[in-house]
Amino acid sequence: MSERLMMKGTEAMAEAAIRAGCRLYFGYPITPQSELPEYMSRRMPQVDGVFLQAESEVAAVNMVYGAACTGHRVMTSTSSPGYSLMQEGISYIAGAELPGVFINVVRGGPGLGDIQPAQSDYFQATKGGGHGDYHVIVLAPSTVQEAVEHMLLAFDLADQYRTPSMIIADGLLGQMMEPVELPESRGLNSLPDHSSWAMQGAKGRESHKVTSFDIDPYELEKMNHRYQKTYQRIRENEIRYEEYRMEDAEYTIVAYGTTARICKSVVNSARESGIKIGLIRPITLWPFPYEVIHTAAKKTGFVMTVEMSVGQMWEDVRLAVEGHAATPFFGRTAGVVPTPTEILDAFHKERKVK
């Protein structure tokens, strides 16, 4: 039975992961997401699951790698500096074609930065982050309810495509409380069967080798082509986005996550004074919804990107627009959350230029 509760973003994601059938959590405390490992440390023993506080994010991501080798649902969560530390392991997980689920509750950077909400890890999330030609499926929820739904989706996509997937949230989404409807728990017997490739013991069969490694460049290139085929299937099937009041829009704003929520207020207040703005909210940051933005660019001739960064998704938006529209940008960064008023002011300034 699903149930309706008031929950913090981090805790709602943790509970959703358990209901998705995840019984293995490895992590390391870091603000602003430490409530997630804390929640797991309480809940996992109640469901015969594993919670392990690793000695570092480096160790945690490799525990994820090891558990993923056995074909079990496994996850970790962290925030920006910790996600940087995990990049090597994520590259190995991608190369070994393993399902593993990550949460990055993004905070201000670079370096130690601060602990306030940010979206300045977009490049790291969508363009690789670690070494090699690989991608991670990136889901960007904008409400706690959507974060819960993305948690289930992240596990399903990781299993289906045997690739790492992640939820990119910001500190705001992680920390705020909202009413959520939690899904029913998945029966562990109903989870995908990975026994055809996973490391579970070579009983009555040839041994399984799970690696990202081949010293022969021609063989490694073949492996890379296989990864690219998977990424192509993901591009064809898994692009997700929301269009908000785009039907009659004369101006387009593109924003994701918490920023998209703020931009919905901007859209509504602009429309009250007769200015028809619409919003495109990418839900998958990789694969990115280029096509819908391209269409909106041709239709409206104005595609403004708003982010809590100095302009990272902006690069993908401009790739999507391909010169068919003006592409202004407004952002606050380093943990500063933009207000609807300042976004609207920036919009008006750019609108005159159009």
């Binding site: 594993v50 000695e55 090891g66 399984h208």
Partner: protein
Amino acid sequence: MMQATPIMKRPESLAQKEFTYCPGCLHGVAHRLLAEILDELKIREKTLMVAPVGCSVFGYQFFNVDGTVAPHGRATAVATGMKRALPDNIVVTYQGDGDLAAIGTAETVHTANRGENITTIFINNAIYGMTGGQMAPTTLLGMKTTTSPYGRSSKTEGFPIHVCEVLQSLPGVAYLERVCLFTPKDVMNAKKAMKKAFQAQIAGLGYSLVEIISTCPTNWGLSAIESVEWAKKEMIREFPLKKFVDRVGDRS
């Protein structure tokens, strides 16, 4: 008619594959011992092996067991994830000195400290072999390598690290012994120690590690025989053979 009984055969756990190791390298002996033990303890079918980055990066291919390669230094973290997912399986890491005692020091210490119920075979030959003979954390004082061309100096490079001595104070450790492979007797002792390490894991007693003092004729610039003679004298003086922890006792 008399039935011929083989007295020596390839262990079932050892794959039909040529080793990639240099002539005179002792990895081959250590591999054979490991395979014999997996056969004798009848655990081949549930063993999961984690190879390191280093000369034994191909190690997972030489055994008829499920295997992977960890990122450099992270073998025991990877093994931890496997063991927590499948506690009834046997998990073994096979690591060199650079992997285990330099880049992987944190993972080594904390895996041991958690008493993670896995087994580590640790090959210490005081040098980075795969990358071409650079200084290792266990390189002896005065020893010349490609990154300590004037000989390792304690003033600038510190001292060779003694892994067993560091780990022996941790209560999570169930079995800890340093052995070598220089004579047939040494090989028999090494096998006994390795077997006990796996028995510790089978009994669920905690972390087990066997350090094997080995050689590197290629990067030491010595013949196979010279390298063994040198190791007997110099390596054993620095790294004395000893059983540090044995919570298995005679229960085997």
